[in-house]
Amino acid sequence: MSKIHISATVNGDPVEFLTEAGVTLLDALRDELALTGSKEGCGSGDCGACSVILDGRLTCSCLILAAEAQGRRIETIEGMARGGELHPLQQKFLDHAALQCGFCTPGLLIAAKALLDANPDPTETETRYWLAGNLCRCTGYDKVIRAVMDAAAELRQVRAA
């Protein structure tokens, strides 16, 4: 079985790794690149714990082959904080206690970031629909939604300033 050589950009940095045809991007991120923030909750596109942004689009990395990543740009949860400084979404998740076990949190944060990148002023309904592909068994979603709405408001202020 021949290995496939992949060069891609992950969180702004060029990366290279070897993979095989059937390996998912999620497994390559975790096992080859040691980026274990993206989680596998289901492996079937239902839970969103594996969410990454691929060439600007929110996707499930469990339903992407690592081999497809050749030349592509990938953003994962590991790229969200800048140095030691949390992204406003991360800070608001803490402020609003929007996580308990935390398994869904990297996926929710990446999905919420993709939302605010595309739409800085979403309604609550838009936010709930956008995040419908991210399952959380602990929080009941309400605190998550409040955290995202609050982060959106803060980001709008920062941009306006």
Partner: protein
């Protein structure tokens, strides 16, 4: 997954050659294929990723109609203003597929070629009278959307053939479409029934052409000609809508499963066809 091979050809000819040996599966967004492979339901020896072929992703306008690359995702179609203006029903149907994450990858061609009776975009495409352009070792052929799927999970495509693009015909000034589905939840579920309606009005607002298609009520998506005919020559008054609903119900051959009984599906098919027709009519009347 031993002995699996991945190729991403950069041309149509390269893809046909890669498919020629047999045992291969075409990959678009992978939201059906990778789930099926993981479950062990399909075991290809080779994956042929179409997304690097020029034209497979994207929408272009040609001779007054639209040409949609087979691997174009729902998210991309949802950003195409001219397509939404001309074919709002097709776009809303594609955009019902899955979550935001799934939309980022799920393609219109994959939705069709996966051959599920409940595929959301298919009734809208059938009602739109869309044409599929298929390429393969024997050359190129064109066929109507409803001729592609023959049974759940089965298509007319030969092992070395694939869907290149979907063509939507030119649109009259006062024409529009709509798609509605019924699901037991508010998001992230499979259609119990789907109904697509496309119609054209004359200057007086009288329906001059109408097509109705139903999903999830038979092994394949149904083009219900009698339901479309019931609307022609009318302004979609109650009598016309009753006749449409009756024709839609009469065409149903559904199964009963955990999402709904056959009786429920049949009844809902009439209701949804009626509502979708009313939406398409309103859109066509308001179109400028």
């Amino acid at each position: 997954m031993a002995d699996l091979d991945y190729v991403a050809p950069a041309s149509v000819a390269g893809a046909i050659e890669a498919l020629a040996g047999g045992g291969a599966k075409v990959l678009a967004g992978g939201t059906d294929l990778l789930v099926q492979m993981r479950a062990g339901r399909v075991k290809p020896q080779r994956i042929v990723d179409l997304k690097r072929i020029p034209g497979l992703i994207g929408v272009r306008q040609e001779n007054g109609g639209f040409v949609i690359g087979a691997s174009t995702s729902g998210a991309e179609l949802g950003e195409h203003a001219a397509l939404i203006h001309a074919w709002p029903g097709v776009v809303e149907a594609v955009q019902l597929i899955g979550s935001t994450q799934v939309q980022g990858r799920a393609s219109i061609g994959g939705n069709l070629c996966n051959a599920s009776p409940a595929a959301d975009s298919v009734p809208a495409l059938v009602a739109a009278r869309a044409i599929c352009v298929v390429v393969g070792g024997q050359g190129r052929r064109e066929l109507p959307v409803e001729a592609v799927v023959t049974a759940p999970g089965a298509t007319v495509l030969a092992p070395d053939e694939f869907l290149l693009e979907i063509r939507l015909p030119p649109r009259a000034a006062r024409a529009s479409d709509a798609y509605l589905r019924q699901i037991p939840r508010t998001e992230m579920d499979i259609a119990v029934v789907g109904a697509g309606v496309s119609l054209t009005l004359d200057a007086a607002g009288v329906c001059s052409e109408a097509h109705v298609a139903l999903g999830a009520v038979a092994p394949t998506v149904l083009l219900v000609e009698a339901a479309g005919a019931a609307l022609i020559g009318t302004t979609l008054d109650d009598a016309a809508l009753d006749a449409l609903a009756q024709a839609a119900e009469a065409a149903c051959r559904p199964i009963s499963d955990k999402r709904g009984t056959a009786e429920y599906r049949t009844r809902i098919a009439g209701v949804l066809a009626r509502r979708a027709a009313a939406i398409a009519y309103r859109r066509a009347s308001e179109r400028t």
